[in-house]
C-alpha cells in the first residue's frame, strides 16, 4: 500500500508513533556535528601521525584503549542476551533482544574504528592474521573481535530487513525469515567468541610481567584477569542495556519494553556482579599478598601516588561493586525504576573504573627503582575521536529506533505474534 516510497512515513512501522521528520533531524543535528568533529580529529591522526595525541613512549596506551576496553565490556549485553534467549530459552528477555544486538553492533564497530586510528600502521592490520602469534593475547583478541563483528553484522541484517519497506520485497522477507531460524547457531558462535575475547582483554594485562600492577597468576595460560573480565562484562552488559533502553524511553516518551524486563536484567546483573565482586576481592588479596611480593614489589608501592590511593580500591569494590550488586539483586522486584537505574549506572561505572585502572594506572606506576610516577592527559584529538564514536552510536541507534522494529511491542497494544 505505498503511495510513494519517498515519504518518510512510509518507512516507519504502520501505527508506530514517531516524531515528525523535522523534529527527528533536529535531534540528530548536534550528534552529526560531534561525529564530524570526531572524523576530523581521527583524520588528523591518520594524516599527521600519532603525535597528534598526548600518548608517548611511557604512555603507549591512552584514552582510546581505556575507552575501547570499556565499551567492549559494556557491549557484552549483546552476546549475553542472545545466549540467554536462544540457548537458555529465557523468553522473557526477547523484547530486549533486538536493541541488544544494535547496542552490541555499535559498541564493537565503534571500538574497531578507534583501533584502526590507534595503531601506527592501520594498513598492516592483516599482518596479525597472516603471521599470528598464538602466545599473544592480542592475536586472540584481533581474531575474535573481527569474527564477532562479522557475527553481529549478520545478526543486524534481519532487523534491518524487517523495515516496513524493505520487507515488502519477497526475497528480503524470505531471506530474513530463513536467517532468523538459524539465529541460535549465530548466538552460540557469538557466545563462544565473546567468552574468549572478553577474557583475552583481561589476559592482555594479566600476562604483563613487567607491569606488576597488572600482572596476575591464573589457571594454565590464563591469568585471573581473564576470568574477571568475562565476569565483569556479563555483569555490566545487562546494566548498560537497561540504561540505554531507559534513555530511549525517556527520549521517545513512551514505555518500550514490559516492566518486568528491567527487573529481569537488574536481577541478572546483580547476581553476576555479586559473583564478580567476590572473585575480584579474592584475586586482589592474592595479588597483593603473594603475586606482587614474589616479583619484588610491595603492595604499598601501588597506592602511594595521588590520586591513585587505596581509596580507589574501596570505590571500585564497594561503592561501584557491592552496593549496586546488593541493590540490583535484592530490590529488583520492589524497587522503583529510578533506584534500579542508579544501581545499573553504578555497576557500569565500576566496570569503567576497573578498565581505567588497568590501562592507565598500570602505565603510570613506576617499575624501575628510578622511574617517576607519570602523568598523562588526553589531547583534544583523542577526546574528539571518541566523542565521534559516541555520536555515531546515538545516530545509528536513533535511526534503528525510528525505522526498524527494535522493540516488538512498541505499538503499545501489547500483542506479539511470532512469525514462525
Amino acid at each position: 500500500m505505498a503511495s510513494t516510497v519517498f515519504t518518510d512515513r512510509q518507512w516507519i512501522e504502520r501505527g508506530a508513533e514517531r516524531a515528525s521528520l523535522s523534529q527527528f533531524l533536529l535531534w540528530l543535528a548536534p550528534w552529526v556535528v560531534v561525529l564530524a568533529m570526531g572524523i576530523y580529529a581521527g583524520g588528523l591522526c591518520l594524516y599527521y601521525g600519532l603525535n597528534q595525541t598526548n600518548m608517548d613512549n611511557r604512555f603507549a596506551f591512552g584514552l582510546w584503549i581505556f575507552l575501547d576496553l570499556s565499551i567492549i565490556a559494556l557491549g557484552a549485553g549483546a552476546f549475553f542476551t542472545g545466549f540467554l534467549v536462544y540457548l537458555l530459552k529465557r523468553e522473557e528477555l526477547r523484547p530486549i533482544l533486538n536493541t541488544a544486538v544494535v547496542v552490541g553492533f555499535i559498541c564493537y564497530s565503534g571500538a574497531v574504528a578507534i583501533l584502526m586510528i590507534d595503531v601506527g600502521q592501520p594498513l598492516r592490520a592483516w599482518f596479525t592474521f597472516w603471521y599470528p602469534n598464538t602466545h599473544s593475547m592480542l592475536t586472540e583478541i584481533t581474531f575474535c573481535i573481527t569474527c564477532y563483528l562479522l557475527v553481529l553484522s549478520i545478526e543486524y541484517i534481519p532487523i534491518l530487513l524487517r523495515n516496513r519497506q524493505l520487507r515488502k520485497l519477497p526475497s528480503f522477507l524470505v531471506f530474513e525469515h530463513q536467517l532468523h531460524k538459524l539465529m541460535p547457531v549465530l548466538a552460540g558462535v557469538g557466545a563462544f567468541l565473546s567468552f574468549f575475547h572478553q577474557g583475552s582483554l583481561g589476559g592482555l594485562y594479566g600476562v604483563l610481567r613487567g607491569r606488576p600492577f597488572a600482572f596476575r597468576q591464573g589457571i594454565f595460560i590464563w591469568p585471573s584477569t581473564f576470568f574477571l573480565f568475562i565476569l565483569s562484562a556479563i555483569a555490566s552488559g545487562p546494566s548498560f542495556l537497561m540504561l540505554v533502553t531507559a534513555a530511549a524511553e525517556k527520549v521517545a516518551s513512551k514505555r518500550l519494553v514490559p516492566r518486568d524486563v528491567f527487573q529481569r536484567l537488574a536481577f541478572i546483573s546483580g547476581i553476576l556482579l555479586n559473583i564478580y565482586v567476590t572473585a575480584k576481592a579474592i584475586d586482589t588479596l592474592i595479588w597483593l599478598n603473594i603475586t606482587s611480593p614474589s616479583l619484588g614489589f610491595a603492595p604499598r608501592q601501588f597506592y602511594m601516588h595521588r590520586p591513585f590511593g587505596t581509596s580507589l580500591v574501596f570505590v571500585e569494590i564497594v561503592l561501584f561493586g557491592l552496593l549496586p550488586a546488593f541493590l540490583l539483586t535484592y530490590h529488583s522486584t520492589a524497587a522503583g525504576r529510578g533506584r534500579l537505574l542508579s544501581a545499573a549506572g553504578l555497576a557500569c561505572a565500576g566496570i569503567v573504573l576497573n578498565r581505567f585502572r588497568l590501562t592507565v594506572q598500570t602505565l603510570a606506576l613506576p617499575t624501575l627503582a628510578f622511574d617517576p610516577f607519570l602523568q598523562y592527559t588526553p589531547s583534544w584529538q583523542e577526546v574528539a575521536s571518541f566523542a565521534g564514536v559516541v555520536a555515531y552510536g546515538v545516530i545509528v541507534y536513533s535511526l534503528s529506533y525510528r525505522y526498524l522494529p527494535l522493540f516488538v511491542n512498541a505499538k503499545g497494544d501489547g500483542s506479539h505474534v511470532s512469525v514462525d
Binding site: M1, P170, Q178, L182
Partner: protein, 274 residues
C-alpha cells in the same frame, strides 16, 4: 595463517588456535549461505507468498484480527492467531457448529449468496467449467470508485493464496489486491465486466477444505459491520470524535469524495497491507 605461509610453525598452539578460528568462520559463512540457499529454494517453490502473508498478518492490530466465528456471532470474542488459515485451524469445526447470529438486512450492499468472500475484500464464484471467477466486493468498489489504471497478471501465470492477485492505481496510490485462492490464471477481466480474474484452482473444488477459508452466509454481516465501523473511524475529519451513526449508505467513489483522508491507512487496513 596457512601452512604454506612463510614462517608458519606446526606447533600445537597454532593448530588448535587456527582450527578454532576456521571452524568459527566456516560455521558463520555456512549459516549465511544456508539461509540464502533456503531462501532461494522457497522463492522458487510457491511458499514465498505464505511467508510474506504470515509476516503481514503479524503486523495487524488485534482489532483487525477477529476470528470469523466472532464476526458471525458464534462466539463472543476470539482473535485469530493462525493468519486466517481456516484450512489448517484445529478448532474450526468446533466453532462452526455453534449457532450464528440472526442475519438481517445487508445494509444496502450487494453480497450475492453464491459467492465466497476473502477478508481482503475479493469474492470467488464457481463457474460450470470448474474455474473460479474473482472480483472486488462492493465495499471495495465503493471505496475506490473507478480506478485510474490496473495491472493484471499474465494469462497462464500462477497466483498464490494471499499473494498479490492484481494491482490498481487510484489518485496516485497503489493498491495490491490479495488473492483469495491459489491457481492458474486462465483469463483476465476489467471493472466494466464486473470481474477481474478467471482462475483454474490448484486444489480440488469437490473438497470442502478448498474454500473453507472464505467467508459466507452469517459471517458477512458481522464482517461488514466491523469494516464500516473501522472506515468511519479512519475516514473521519481530523479533530472530530467518532459519532454514533446508523450506518447509512456509502457514497460511490469515496477516494474522490474525501481526498484529504488518510488513505494510506484506510487502504492498508482494508486490503490487509499488501
Amino acid at each position: 595463517m596457512f601452512p604454506w605461509t612463510d614462517g608458519f610453525r606446526w606447533t600445537l598452539n597454532h593448530i588448535i588456535f587456527l582450527s578454532l578460528f576456521f571452524a568459527v568462520l566456516l560455521t558463520t559463512v555456512t549459516t549465511v549461505f544456508s539461509a540464502l540457499w533456503r531462501a532461494v529454494h522457497v522463492l522458487q517453490t510457491h511458499s514465498a507468498a505464505e511467508i510474506c502473508w504470515k509476516a503481514a498478518f503479524a503486523e495487524l492490530p488485534d482489532s483487525e484480527r477477529s476470528c470469523r466465528h466472532e464476526l458471525a456471532g458464534r462466539v463472543i470474542s476470539r482473535k485469530c492467531d493462525n493468519a486466517f488459515d481456516c484450512r489448517r485451524c484445529s478448532q474450526y469445526s468446533q466453532f462452526a457448529v455453534l449457532p450464528a447470529a440472526e442475519t438481517g438486512a445487508d445494509m444496502g450492499f450487494h453480497y450475492p449468496k453464491n459467492r465466497f468472500y476473502h477478508r481482503g475484500h475479493t469474492w470467488v464464484e464457481l463457474q460450470e467449467d470448474g474455474t473460479l471467477t474473482v472480483g472486488l466486493d462492493e465495499l471495495a468498489e465503493h471505496l475506490i470508485g473507478s480506478p485510474d489504471s490496473f495491472e493484471m497478471p499474465e494469462v497462464g501465470s500462477e497466483i498464490e493464496l494471499n499473494g498479490t492477485a492484481w494491482r490498481m492505481k487510484k489518485n496516485g496510490k497503489e493498491i495490491q489486491i490479495r488473492a483469495p485462492i491459489e491457481g492458474k490464471v486462465v483469463a483476465t477481466g476489467s471493472p466494466e465486466e464486473g470481474w477481474y480474474l478467471k482462475i483454474r484452482p490448484r486444489l480440488d473444488l469437490g473438497d470442502p477444505m478448498t474454500l473453507r477459508h472464505l467467508l459466507r452466509g452469517a459471517e458477512i454481516r458481522g464482517w461488514l459491520n466491523r469494516e464500516l465501523e473501522r472506515l468511519q473511524l479512519q475516514l473521519r475529519t481530523p479533530n472530530t470524535a467518532p459519532s454514533l451513526a446508523d450506518g447509512g449508505v456509502l457514497l460511490d467513489g469515496l477516494m474522490d469524495a474525501l481526498p484529504e483522508a488518510d488513505w494510506e491507512t484506510v487502504l492498508a487496513s482494508t486490503f490487509l497491507e499488501g
